[in-house]
């Protein structure tokens, strides 16, 4: 029974998108995922309007002071188990804006983050790759149903070393 629930969550995560002070670059790449070329709905991912219905929160943007409080409130409204994906250099660490007045700098300073996708902005394929890695880690984790599972990093197949080797041949 617990495995069925994990299977259901992995096969069809519903996402909520929130922009916490971003330039829109990452947001338009997220919306591009819904369009025919990348089609994230193949993975059962649906864009939800309400935090109460969502499993995964996709955040973009270096968190501004005004958005920090709202981001916390949205995270608290999501039901367990919930996952947060920080998309873009700004969401990972503040990017070019780190250190400005009015910028907290990085989503993990406000809420816990489960996956980081760097880039400025990351390609839609890179975001897909991040979501797939998160789902693979969720599948590989051991805790069933109600508790928040501990994620295990799954080794990526493509690495820079392999690419550099391919280039030198």
């Amino acid at each position: 029974m617990p495995n069925t629930i994990t299977w259901a969550r992995v096969k069809s995560p519903w996402v909520l998108h929130f922009n916490s002070g971003a330039c829109n670059g990452c947001d338009i790449e997220i919306v591009a995922l819904l369009t025919p070329k990348y089609d994230i709905e193949r993975f059962g991912v649906k864009l939800e309007p309400s935090p109460r219905h969502a499993d995964v929160l996709l955040t973009t943007g270096c968190v501004t002071e005004q958005c920090a409080e709202r981001l916390k409130r949205i995270y608290e409204q999501m039901p367990e188990p919930k996952f947060v994906v920080a998309i873009g250099a700004c969401a990972c660490s503040g990017g070019v804006f780190a250190g400005n007045y009015n910028v907290v700098g990085g989503v993990d300073k406000v809420i816990p983050v489960n996956a980081y996708i760097p880039g400025c902005p990351p390609r839609p394929e890179a975001i897909l790759d991040g979501v797939v890695k998160l789902l693979a880690a969720l599948e590989a984790s051991s805790k069933p149903s109600k508790e928040q599972p501990k994620l295990v990093e799954v080794k990526a197949e493509a690495t820079v070393e392999a690419e550099v080797e391919a280039k030198s041949m």
Partner: protein, 130 residues
Amino acid sequence: MAKKKRALSSYITKEAFSSIFKKPATQKYPFVKASVAEGFRGKQIFDIEKCISCGLCARDCPANAIEMVQVEGKNRPLFHLDRCVFCYQCADSCPKNAIQPTAFFELACIDKKTLVMKPEPVPPAVKQPT
């Protein structure tokens, strides 16, 4: 006139119907390799043999993503990929072309500490034969 009106409004229906017989617009990544243009700015590779420790890359980085650290007694750049915006100003500023672009973009991870590229000597297998 009614016939012309019907013809005009059926453009959407015609387009929708003809899409059934055309190749799908979806590129089925990750089961198919992503098509990336030549010259795409992905993750950098750093050639430590060409580096002269001038620090211009760290000075010009707009995101302060490069930190000069000591490696074997010399100053070398350490790249913080979670802050990097992949603008490649570091490659433009480097007088010895020690920083080169690759098309690698699958950098997503669970642990942020892995998003750091340390300056390490290039492994012997990858060196160009003289």
